[in-house]
Subunit: 353 residues, 2 copies
């Protein structure tokens, strides 16, 4: 990693302090991400504030929410111009005189969403970043903040799940869905995974094999759920990132007192929810948004414990990051195009390469 | 009321005990209620069990759930032959030797659903009935068990509502809806009431006036909600008995952390629920079923308090029963037809008239 650090240009300003020149991917207007994003050179402030830290970003992925934010369709709209990206990991390069919780060399991830991580260097408040285990693999550190915690919290905060219990999810091969499968396996929870029907039996089989290699107990299409598996399992938890009729099938499959947690709406259709299970089976529906969980200061201790648990699973080979394709900041146009078209792997920037 | 009691035929059986002959409305098969229901004469058992009571039913309404149960489309299916009706009030005529909680002359309502109240006389377990204030008006006693408590619980158990808070409901002129309006007025809670557009402006005005006379703060159609009132109020509670797109409008209107409680599905369409408010506004959806609440023995004390509060509102003129049309058991065919076609008033049997 140390070789990366040489890339930041340093120059001496008129007051004798060295100015750090950094590069960042910014947008000034909402629009097509591949066109709206520009690579910009800029100078960091001359002085690092007493409670601030200098972070060098080392791996910062492109997530669907980042794309939506640039498109202007995400509910949170940043002030313009904005730096793209909200996930990633970096290394502390320098600290202000009053910083106590971090030291030079620590590895950190954003403490909250919307930090703008697609840049080589940034001065940030000590409170804006969260220390993580530096010994984890780079790809895991770069993708530790959004999807694995979303899966982890949804499997923890809504229903008490014991070993042997069953959960059901749609969009099961999404990044969160794959994290759900792996956490279920690690915890001894059975997962029923609904995926869209692939164009060829071969593609279907390949997807099924991949999901099963991660730990999926059952990988089926909506059609199979209706025709072959109706009433065959009584999950107490359903995870929905699709909406529309797919949500209806999950709701129908839920056991008495079951809970459906919605964290996405890939079909862009409202959830269709049958009345009967709400009234007579007392099922409940709620949503989950990782950003809101992070914003709640009461969760700090739990956050440390969650990263420790995820870290342990990562180190013992029970939890794998998604497949990543590293891109330099200069490759932003290609990376942003690929992020929207090629769902077989995740694009991520290596801002200091 | 005492004049009613003379109607039960009593005869002396071979052991010298008097056998009580009663009349009841029964069905042996699911089907069209007006055809499936028959009036039957039958003898009560010769001996009243030690822990049983003899109840004379005095006023027993026809509710939509009763109709659905006879049609066979209700999730709870009684063993056949079944006596219709699950609400109403009666008077204790005699008690078994070990009955402690009730005495002759007490007025009671069913303690649970599905008791079969459309009959003149019944021997029931002491635990199957629940003592109420005999001094309440007959029409209030006959309709005390289902709709006012449904409204009461939905306004109590899901969200903490303070004076001045706002709730929103669809199907606002349903029996429960009208109870909601009156309880809101009594508690100082503002109610926004969505009703279907009537065929003429006159009919619309008449409905609005009726709802306002009960205490409705605002009576509007879905169209008005969309065009004139979007974002104008931020209710923390939405009550849904319609489903379909109407549920979507309620969900969109809900404030952050708002709750939508579903207690009916009059449109026979699944609820349409937008993804955004679930994730980004953290709204929640659940269902309410009065029968389940009654089944929970932990609620007995709360049930007494609820009836006391409702009784106080009834006596002080703050809560009115729906308009009732009294029918003798012999008029069952007409009553059951009217119950399905004439929604301006509720049919109820006076089994001992």
């Amino acid at each position: 990693m140390l070789t990366c650090l040489r890339r930041s240009a340093q120059k001496v300003n008129s007051f004798g302090r060295r100015t750090i020149s950094s590069r960042r991917l910014v947008y000034e207007n909402f629009g097509d991400p591949a066109k709206a994003i520009l690579l910009q050179q800029y100078d960091l402030p001359k002085k690092l504030e007493n409670k601030s830290v200098h972070v060098k970003w080392l791996g910062t992925p492109i997530n669907p929410a980042d794309i939506n934010q640039i498109q202007g369709v995400y509910p949170i709209k940043p002030p313009m111009p904005a730096v793209g990206g909200s996930e990633g990991y970096g290394q502390i390069e320098a600290i202000g005189t009053e910083v106590r919780s971090l030291k030079v060399g620590d590895h950190v991830i954003p403490a909250k969403s919307g930090l703008g991580t697609w840049c080589s260097d940034a001065y940030l408040s000590e409170l804006d970043v969260f220390k993580i285990d530096a010994s984890l693999p780079s790809t895991s550190k770069a993708t530790l903040q959004v999807n694995p915690p979303t899966a982890y919290r949804m499997l923890t905060d809504f229903v008490v799940l014991k070993e042997g219990d069953t959960i059901i999810q749609n969009g099961a091969n999404s990044a969160v869905g794959q994290a759900v499968v792996q956490i279920c396996r690690a915890r001894g929870i059975k997962s029923v995974n609904i995926v869209r029907k692939r164009e060829t039996p071969d593609a279907q089989k390949k997807l099924e094999e991949h999901m099963k290699s991660l730990g999926a107990d059952l990988v089926i299409t909506e059609e199979q759920l209706i025709k072959e598996y109706r009433g065959k399992f009584n999950p107490s938890l359903a995870l929905n990132c699709v909406g529309g009729r797919s949500a209806l099938l999950l709701a129908m499959a839920l056991d008495h007192n079951g809970v459906m947690v919605t964290y996405g709406g890939m079909s862009k259709q409202p959830l269709s929810i049958p009345t009967g299970p709400l009234i007579f089976k007392d099922i409940k529906l709620c949503g989950f948004w990782m950003s809101r969980w992070y914003e709640n200061k009461d969760n700090v201790k739990e956050r440390v414990m969650m990263y420790e648990q995820l870290g342990e699973w990562i180190k013992t080979g029970k939890f794998h990051p998604p497949q990543l394709v590293a891109r330099k900041l200069e490759e932003h146009q290609l990376a942003l195009e690929k992020a929207q078209t090629d769902h077989s792997c995740k694009q991520f920037f290596v801002p200091n390469d």
